[in-house]
Symmetry: D2
Subunit: 96 residues, 4 copies
Amino acid sequence: MPYSPEDKKRAVMRLRRIKGQAAALERAVEEGTDCKSLLQQIAALRGAANGLMAEVLDSHLRELFGSAKETVAVREARDPDEEIEALMKTLRTYLK
Amino acid sequence: MPYSPEDKKRAVMRLRRIKGQAAALERAVEEGTDCKSLLQQIAALRGAANGLMAEVLDSHLRELFGSAKETVAVREARDPDEEIEALMKTLRTYLK
Amino acid sequence: MPYSPEDKKRAVMRLRRIKGQAAALERAVEEGTDCKSLLQQIAALRGAANGLMAEVLDSHLRELFGSAKETVAVREARDPDEEIEALMKTLRTYLK
Amino acid sequence: MPYSPEDKKRAVMRLRRIKGQAAALERAVEEGTDCKSLLQQIAALRGAANGLMAEVLDSHLRELFGSAKETVAVREARDPDEEIEALMKTLRTYLK
């Protein structure tokens, strides 16, 4: 779960924008828009996905390891080494 | 415009999948799904955007420079150097 | 500092390989090797840099937040929020 | 082969810089420099590899498909579809 209600709202806004970009691209493909413009729009969609990733990653790191009281309490039960392993598994897909 | 009707259909299918992934992620964020799972889903969405990029790029290169007769005729009017410059402008966003 | 002497040794080995790849590429360019082969070699060099990044990142996360005793002691003096901010600053360059 | 002697010289300069960055990183790892600084330096090295990739790719596209006379002559013998396939094979490693 993203760290705060504001984080959550921002993530939802970003996801709606991504859906909108995908829908616009779908129309563009069906209308036969030239590839050059499609490539730019796909690059923008990917940029939006990367921005979302950065934001959720930031929330996740703060939730797991940050100093905020509410999260310090929650994470007592967790094994930090396992959390790091799970996190690295996802990050490695970005480092190929 | 993607190279063939098959290319077009494949691109539309990919875009629908991306929309579905974004919608599923939106629900997941609203339901408070843990960040670990969100990060995996975002990585998958980005992978789908990259797959689409590769496909449209492949179509674009064939359209611009391939040997198929219909595209050879179309591109007579184009300046290949300008096309390359436009293409590199998009590709550079992937090479930062 | 990478987490353990083994980590350190592995990082040094990876860096030597990267130096060797860059030296081989320099010779290849000077000898006029075709671009296709250069592009493959550059992709391999970049893959090696990404592999190193994943490894040092893994060490860093364990050092900062892992359960190993020696690092738990060291990090008492640190502000986890600042560490996360610094880490995200670097990771964002991968998420553009 | 990169497109022109200037392209070649620039590629060699970039590769020397990459070798220098890898050598500096090797020393930094051996001296126990903190991970945060290592991660920044690795990100810079990867940025340099991406910059080189963009440059060689640009040369390659101009060589294969550009309007310059010397390359138009050379490529008569080549199959553009095969060239595109080979190129996409490398680019796909960047689109994973």
